[in-house]
Symmetry: C2
Subunit: 447 residues, 2 copies
């Protein structure tokens, strides 16, 4: 279709469609509900390829339509893309509520925002108020930072299942691209903040913003393309229902980009399966259907299969979602940069951490002691009051800080409750915050 542009007929067709779009947007402007115009808008858009849509939007802008009016076209355009661009490569239908469905919906939201950015970029070159348009660009870019949740879900929930199957290059490359895109976004935001602060709306400065938005858009859409054409088809083929159930369990801990999946719509029957529990074999049938990038890796992986099982290390017990030996657990608690003491629901002191160079020494001899005997008579009524308020659910912490030999010591009392909210005891956390108070600026892993 792209070369239609070069001949008379193609150009005329684009023009006709733009005229049609204008007419429809004018109707929308006059109050005709979008639902009624949708069918015709889709018809007008269907005659255009993505590049032509950008040109058409540019045209509309020149004609005096506001970016906000053109955004309606963007939304409908992306809806139209849903079936073609986002799903066409998938071997099977994706049920609503399935984690893959959520991932696809997020990509759709991303594409809408990118198209809006494109419209606003064009507007920035036109006659509108630069500061207002830039503000709108800034606001969309800022909201895009939240797209890291989409990437995070891939990185934390999807990639581990690929790694266990010996497929490590594809996720590593994708993560790199995701990381670069988010970094580019962060720098671009800083740059725009600079322009806003200095009120520099010169053509040079704004041109650079426009170019960078174009670059960022290419980066983001490239990732959408890789996900849609390669990653998603492959994981739909490879992952069992139990794996998706495990992914579903955790996806809302990470969150979503502009998508609010309803709970309980997707009703799988399998139990969750975690990466260290999967069977990495790939059947001949699945293998034959895999995208080429995956097929080559799976065929050659052989000895690289990861067989480590965290639950099967000698002496390990299940703690929360993880696995630790008692030695690891104790040593980990003792290595904490805070001191902890715990009194149970019977008001008995039953546990303390053995940190190096303790601020408040606790001893074995005190284990089992009633809390009221652990404090000087002068302050015991206050400790009791705090504990009573924790028990009654009236309070969620009690904080104190004192000077001790030139160090500032922070003491925090916290109620400990079971996952059902039952009071299990009170935790005392003691921390030397002298050095923390001096921290300024940033010190990143890569500085």
């Amino acid at each position: 279709m792209g070369n239609n542009l070069s001949n008379e007929k193609g150009v005329r067709q684009v023009k006709d469609n733009v005229i049609k779009l204008k007419e429809l947007l004018r109707k929308a402007h006059e109050g005709v509900p979008l639902d009624i115009l949708k069918k015709e808008l889709k018809e007008a858009l269907s005659g255009l390829n993505p590049f032509e849509v950008v040109l058409a939007e540019q045209e509309l802008l020149k004609e005096g339509f506001t970016p906000q009016e053109i955004f309606k076209v963007c939304d409908i355009h992306v809806e139209m893309l849903r079936d073609s661009l986002l799903k066409v490569s998938l071997p099977y239908e994706v049920p609503v509520g399935h984690p893959l469905h959520d991932l696809i919906s997020e990509n759709e939201e991303l594409l809408k925002d990118l198209e809006k950015l494109s419209v606003l970029s064009q507007a920035l070159k036109g006659f509108g108020k630069k500061d207002e348009i830039l503000e709108e660009i800034y606001s969309i870019l800022k909201s895009l930072r939240d797209f890291k949740k989409h990437y995070r879900k891939l990185q934390a929930l999807v990639f581990p299942y690929l790694e266990r199957r010996g497929i490590t290059a594809v996720p590593r490359v994708l993560w790199s691209k995701e990381d670069q895109a988010m970094l580019y976004l962060r720098n671009l935001l800083n740059e725009i903040e600079g322009l806003k602060a200095s009120k520099d709306f010169s053509i040079t400065a704004l041109d650079e913003v426009v170019n960078k938005i174009a670059f960022l858009t290419r980066e983001f859409t490239d990732i959408v393309f890789r996900e849609s054409k390669i990653l998603f088809p492959a994981i739909q083929l490879l992952f069992s229902e139990g794996e998706w159930v495990a992914i579903k369990e955790s996806e809302s801990d990470i969150g979503f980009y502009k998508v609010r999946p309803e709970a309980g719509v997707w009703k799988p029957s399998a139990e969750p399966i975690y990466p260290y529990q999967i069977r990495p074999e790939v059947s001949e049938e699945v293998l034959s259907k895999l995208p080429a990038e995956f097929r080559a890796v799976v065929e050659s992986r052989g000895e690289f299969l990861d067989v480590y099982n965290p639950a099967e290390v000698k002496g390990r017990i299940k703690i929360g979602d993880g696995y630790l030996t008692l030695e690891e657990l104790e040593s980990l608690i003792n290595a904490l940069p805070v001191e902890i003491s715990f009194i149970d629901a019977n008001d008995r002191f039953v546990f303390y951490s053995k940190n190096k160079d303790k601020i408040f020494v606790r001893t074995k001899v005190e284990v089992g002691r009633p809390v009221e005997f652990c404090h000087p008579p002068r302050s015991v009524h206050i400790v009791k009051k705090i504990v009573e308020e924790f028990k009654a659910g009236k309070r969620d912490s009690a904080d104190f800080w004192i000077n001790m030999g030139g160090r500032l010591i922070y003491i925090k009392y916290l109620p400990v409750r079971s996952s059902e909210g039952k009071y299990l005891g009170t935790l005392e956390v003691v921390q030397d915050i002298t050095d923390i108070k001096k921290i300024e600026g940033e010190k990143r892993l890569l500085d």
Copy 2:
């Protein structure tokens, strides 16, 4: 003896002894070693009661001896008190290295310092340089703060065994007095700091200091008296060797006041017994020997005996020195004001805390994942380097801080080592320090 002062003979005797002391101190001043003079000094002192010693020291001061020279008299005087004041009430000999021996030695050190304070108080009323004498008083008072270690050992190691025997009033009263004395000391130090800062060496101001030192001295010696005459004889009778072994185990965690007990001198054969393991019965024989304050309580305690055993609560496992159920342990970790993640010695992510509103979300799906896959390719080499340095023992922490949506997030990597120093893994601790950075001044439990 006190009324000897009122008759001619008594006064003459005191005078003779003071003349003798002066002569001996003059010899010391001229270089005769103290060891040679000790016997004669003791003889001169033995003719004086404690009050007369104070008068004698006052006399020496007037004669022009420096406080430092008179301190020698103090030391020898307290040594003489050791047998009479400190040990006379004990039913049995106390072996060197026994925790009770350490407690008695600390009291002796305290009495020496109090006697020095008394000499300096007298000097403050005389003709010496007020600022220098005040500085010396301040320095001794400052070192006295460390006497809280003596009290802490009683409060944390001795009292729990009494409480388990139903004896709670005596320890509570003692703790109150100890607490008051330390508080009085703290306020006095603040006051002297004020005088030093304002260079106010007026008679009124210094008189108040002298009076307060006298009050503090009375408070401290009153506690020494109660310990020596009541507490120590009682616990020597009541506590079994196993209990003293448990006390010995922990005493050096708390520390000592100017005493450095040699290890391995006392050689008990019993295994340590903790308070919740003791048999609270008191034999008729022991009962008959107990100080009256204790006998009455033991005879009437009956139903108040504490039988709670932290190890016997259903589902409890031993963690460090304490006891927790897995539910308590998990909930306690999740209640921490810091987020933790742990990779084991195989470089596998195997555990994370499930705090409310996590800054960095971790998921079940990641459990078992190699650490190199848990980070973006861009920074993985740095993470690996940190872990390698932890493994090699070349590094003890790696700290970073970043801004996230207006919050300052502190990220600390720490090596986790077994008690034998073996590398067990790396801990990541994440903390929002935005509010901590704003903390100023003090907020005490009793404010």
